[in-house]
């Protein structure tokens, strides 16, 4: 059923298995993953991956809206540009390229 994405060695694809089965399946093939949600959609990210990775895996390119309403995504990859900001577990303005994914995280990007 559509609803979650899986990353295998950097290759994302939509997963048609149920979550439990999927996790077992992947677990047997690759490094551990972490499950979190991006805009309500479940994402499996490799353990140790940054939240920005999870957002990309969810197929989102526009992480936030600028003050003028333009879509923006990460620019610098090193935590200085602030364009990758998302809301994590209710806290706004978190730089997704500086935060490691944790199980159960709720990540929200701007509409």
């Amino acid at each position: 059923m559509p609803g979650h994405y899986v990353s295998t060695a950097g290759r994302p694809h939509e997963c048609r298995r149920g979550t439990q089965e999927c996790v077992r399946h992947i677990g047997s093939r690759m490094t551990e993953t972490v499950e979190l949600r991006v805009n309500g959609v479940r994402v499996q990210a490799p353990r140790g991956a940054l939240v920005s990775t999870a957002v990309f895996l969810a197929g989102v390119a526009g992480f936030r809206r600028s003050v003028g309403g333009q879509p923006r995504g990460p620019l610098c990859g090193m935590g200085i540009c602030f364009e990758c900001r998302v809301t994590i577990n209710g806290r706004e303005h978190c730089r997704s390229c500086q935060v490691v994914c944790e199980p159960g995280m709720e990540v929200r990007t701007d509409a």
Partner: protein, 420 residues
């Protein structure tokens, strides 16, 4: 209190920490990333382990910690995931590295337009690039490193566009840029890049797409053409991260923080090493780090032995900088409605009406957003010659609670309880 605190656990910082440890100093390293390695050794696994395993256990490493203020002499205030903490030091080594210089051009704010190092950093952290079309553009040997990394991870690198002219690269003696193989070998990259188009005198004119990048308009001489792509990895050189040294009162030179032969700044007991003293590449950063680490721990003789190596690496690095310097035509890329300040959405037309940085900031808020001018400042310095103003805390945005907690101690922290 640690003898030596090292801020920045990239190549220069790690080299400094290692030598200080070997001199018998107690060392604490601080880095804002989730793991050590800086930008170059991000997720580097093997090399990083080899470089650090023998001595890292004898030092303290605090990751995810960003220095934001210096509330009293000999003390730094840090923000970590847990909150605010302070750290005292006898000697300090600042190896805060460099960031990319971004220059504005139409469409540069679209999602999937990133820095060259930026795309590489994101890819190293898991951004999928396999079979994605990527154009790599801008200046410097970094473009080749990025192109190589992307190719190794299955990306379809369409083009590497270096804005410097062939003659500029030739002057440095990089070999005929028309035969990228020579250049690639000189810069130390594998033959795997052969077959990727490498153009000199080539740069992006515009990025286009509706909600994200779809294609880039490239220019080379009289020719312009469209390259359809998924990512544009575009950076115009590197800028040293001098903000923390400046906050501490270190004098700045033309290229970065000014240091003496022992890498000591104008502030006694504060040393700088690596890109922050001037862009010079990995090998120079390593030897500067070693000298700073020795000097900070009192090993002046050992430091002196490395002066020769530093000198030769510095000469190479200077030549490299000159060869790849951003050219005048790049000043004409921004259109009136191209944004210069991304944090506050300020256009080129509005910014250039003013006669100086302070005036422009006050009246447009350009440079007053969360990036604190780190993105637009480099552009504005190149486009208009405006130098950044003085630095105030927080050197990096932090929680109000962290700023509230940085209380100065009555004297330079001798109290063991303060050190965490």
């Amino acid at each position: 209190m640690p003898d030596v605190v090292v801020v920045g656990a990239g190549p220069a910082g790690l080299a400094a920490a290692r030598r200080a440890v070997e001199c018998g100093a107690s060392v604490t390293m601080v880095d804002d990333n989730p793991a050590a390695g800086g930008q170059i050794w991000r997720a580097a696994g093997g090399r990083l382990r080899r470089e650090t395993e023998r001595w890292l256990a004898r030092a303290e490493l605090i990751t995810g910690a960003r220095v934001f203020a210096a509330p009293a002499p000999g003390r730094l205030a840090l923000e970590t995931l847990q909150g605010e903490m302070e750290i005292a030091y006898r000697s300090l080594v600042l190896a805060t590295g460099a960031r990319e210089r971004f220059l504005p051009f139409p469409g540069w704010t679209l999602p999937n337009v990133m820095g060259a190092g930026g795309l590489q950093a994101l890819a190293k952290s898991g951004l999928p690039v396999e079979r994605k079309k990527v154009v790599v553009a801008g200046c410097g040997p970094l473009l080749l490193a990025v192109a190589e990394y992307l190719r190794d991870h299955g990306a379809n690198v369409r083009l590497v566009a270096e804005q410097a002219s062939r003659s500029s690269l030739l002057r440095f003696g990089l070999g005929l840029a028309g035969r990228p193989g020579k250049l690639i070998q000189a810069a130390g990259f594998r033959a795997g890049l052969l077959g990727v188009r490498y153009f000199t005198s080539c740069w992006p004119m515009a990025a286009e797409g509706s909600e994200k990048l779809e294609r880039v308009i490239m220019r080379r001489g009289n020719r312009t053409w469209s390259e359809s792509c998924d990512y544009l990895a575009c950076g115009f050189g590197l800028i040293p991260n001098v903000e923390l040294p400046a906050l501490l009162g270190c004098r700045l030179g033309a290229k970065g923080v000014a240091v003496d032969e022992f890498q000591q700044t104008s502030v006694a007991g504060v040393y700088c090493a690596g890109e922050v003293t001037g862009i010079g590449g990995l090998e120079l950063s390593l030897v500067e780090g070693e000298i700073a680490g020795y000097a900070a721990a009192g090993g002046l003789e050992a430091a002196r032995k490395l002066f020769g190596a530093r000198e030769s690496r510095r000469r190479f690095a200077d030549g490299l900088e000159r060869a790849f310097a951003p050219r005048e035509e790049l000043k004409t890329l921004a259109a009136d409605d191209t944004l210069v300040c991304r944090c506050e959405d300020v256009t080129w037309a509005r910014v250039r009406r003013f006669t100086g940085w302070r005036e422009a900031k006050l009246h447009t808020r350009c440079g007053m957003g969360p990036c604190q001018g780190r993105v637009c400042g480099g552009a504005v310095e190149f486009l208009l010659g405006w130098k950044p103003g003085s630095v105030r805390p927080p050197v990096f945005p932090v929680r109000v609670g962290s700023l509230a907690g940085a209380v100065p101690s009555p004297q330079c922290g001798e109290k063991p309880g303060d050190i965490r």
